[in-house]
């Protein structure tokens, strides 16, 4: 770590550290005993306890399972749809209105419907996560194909490649960086959607752990789970950005998300 980077990181820490310290000191001075907020130190203790007794890890595993399965399905569907519509222009034009009408439906609006069909549990959560992550992957992969340099298709024509060869040798390599970007965004969405479904109705995972802690009027534990969710989200996004930089050098910095 170079010196300017270190000082930038330090300056970034000033505000949160000050806020947390102030909260701790003010809370202790006022002998805080609240059912709505908790001292930072109590949150840390609650987090440690929940990690130690395994309950938090169990909830994390539940959420991550739904996230990964949902992302896998959503990415597969979104990619297939994006490839199909990006490569076959007539199909794209025929489905334009239908997609314009379906896309604005908020994913969370499907929660009651999917529960009605599939009941509470993993299936519901995975379905909704898959539906929600399908859209960004579809939109990005479709526009990535439309953005492929037309000259490449002419080259493929001139060399007499078949359609499967074209996709394998020309389309996929040129859209791969953007597909990965779509996947990275989808993972972020997936965590948000999964937690939302859990908080709303589904008795699973980290979202449910928060609701249970809230119903038990335990603000320290509620906040501890929130911090944990934030940490997981941060970790995932860092990890995927690193993978992106290694796999597609020169791309990561150019992308604002």
């Amino acid at each position: 770590m170079t010196r300017p980077m270190r000082s930038a990181a330090l300056r970034g820490l000033v505000v949160p550290v000050t806020l947390i310290a102030t909260a701790e000191i003010a809370g202790r001075a006022a002998h805080l005993d609240s059912l709505t907020i908790a001292l930072p130190s109590h949150i840390v203790v609650a987090l440690a306890q929940a990690l130690a007794d395994g309950s938090l890890l169990q909830a994390t595993a539940e959420t991550l399972w739904a996230v990964l399965a949902g992302v896998a399905l959503g990415t597969a569907f979104g990619l297939a749809l994006g490839l199909a519509l990006g490569l076959a222009r007539p199909l794209d034009r025929l489905l334009a209105v239908l997609i314009e009408l379906l896309r604005p439906i908020p994913t969370v609006a499907l929660i009651p419907l999917v529960i009605l069909v599939a009941g509470l549990g993993y299936l519901t959560e995975i379905t909704i996560v898959a539906f929600g992550t399908m859209w960004p992957v579809f939109v990005i992969s479709r526009s990535a194909i439309l953005g492929v340099e037309p000259r490449l298709f002419e080259v493929a024509d001139a060399l007499g490649f078949s359609w499967p060869q074209r996709i394998q040798k020309f389309v996929l390599p040129s859209i791969a960086p953007r597909i990965f970007l779509a996947f990275r965004l989808a993972v972020g969405f997936a965590l948000i959607i999964a937690v939302t479904v859990e908080i709303t109705t589904n008795p699973l995972g980290l979202g449910n752990a928060m609701v249970v802690a809230q119903n038990a009027l335990n603000p320290a534990l509620t906040l501890a789970v929130l911090v944990w969710i934030g940490a997981i989200g941060w970790l995932f996004s860092r990890l995927l950005i690193i993978v992106e930089r290694v796999a597609f050098p020169g791309m990561g910095s150019a992308v604002r998300s």
Binding site: L35, I37, V97, E100, P104, I105, T200, M210
Partner: protein, 251 residues
């Protein structure tokens, strides 16, 4: 001409899909508890609109969504302009903001519920908290990336500080701000539905949750259609506003 033809064909595809839905429902392949026929959904929709029940819930959703989004946008533009124009403040705050952004806004619902209880105040707080991020970060970016040359022009013309913010920085950041506000609208609608499902403060979120719990698939579909319509209208409204305000961009 060609584009109109394609559009009509595409509309025909929608009609075909609805017809297939009708056939599927008529054949009762899928239980009508889950999949009502298009006719039943249409009846539920028109009944809900005529009686005013569905429109009433929709109006509540619009009110929640609008005020939450409006509060978020005002706060985001104010904070974002200050942070974006001051490299010092930005150096201290930006890392915290970047770290908080990926936090699922819905996960703050239990926290805010403990503090505020289940009411309209909770709904507005959660929506505003969740919808502030896109606009805030876009505003910061917009203000920090004002062309240096514009500032030199302002200095050469002897413009006042206030005028530089109002006439140079703000219009220059406007495309970014509006793009952020467009994303915020979508987030506001999502959080409105989630809050309405949890807090029981009316709105289409509560409507569809109740419809699902009472196995009224026709009402459920009508509610989802209304939500899709709200999403479509709100997004297009802001895209239209954006086009009008940024008309100087189209050469």
């Amino acid at each position: 001409m060609r584009r109109v033809a394609w559009w009509l064909a595409s509309l025909g595809v929608v009609a075909l899909v609805i017809y297939a839905w009708h056939l599927l429902a008529a054949a009762a392949v899928i239980s009508p508890v889950f999949l009502p026929s298009p006719q039943r959904v249409w009846t539920a929709l028109s009944r809900g609109i005529q009686s005013g029940a569905l429109t009433g819930y929709a109006l509540q959703t619009v009110v929640h969504m609008f005020w939450g989004w409006f509060a978020a946008s005002c706060a985001a533009i104010l904070l974002g302009s200050i942070i974006g124009m001051s490299p010092t403040i930005q150096a201290y705050l930006q890392p915290s903001l970047e770290a908080m952004r990926p936090l699922p806004a819905s996960a703050t619902i239990p926290i805010f519920t403990l503090a505020l209880g289940l009411n309209d105040g909770l709904v507005l707080t959660v929506i505003a908290f969740g919808a502030i991020w896109p606009t805030l970060l876009a505003t910061i970016y917009g203000f920090e990336s004002v062309d240096e040359r514009h500032y030199e022009v302002a200095a050469a013309l002897g413009m006042s500080k206030f005028d530089i913010v109002r006439k140079i920085a703000l219009p220059s950041a406007l495309p970014d701000i509006l793009a952020g506000m467009r994303v915020s609208v979508t987030i506001a609608l999502i959080l409105t539905i989630v809050c309405e499902m949890i807090a029981g403060v009316g709105g289409l979120g509560q409507w569809i949750l109740n419809a699902g719990r009472t196995f009224r698939a026709d009402n459920l579909f009508a509610g989802i259609l209304m939500l899709g319509l709200l999403g479509l209208i709100s997004t297009n409204l802001i895209i239209g506003t954006e086009r009008y305000m940024l008309r100087w961009k189209q050469a």
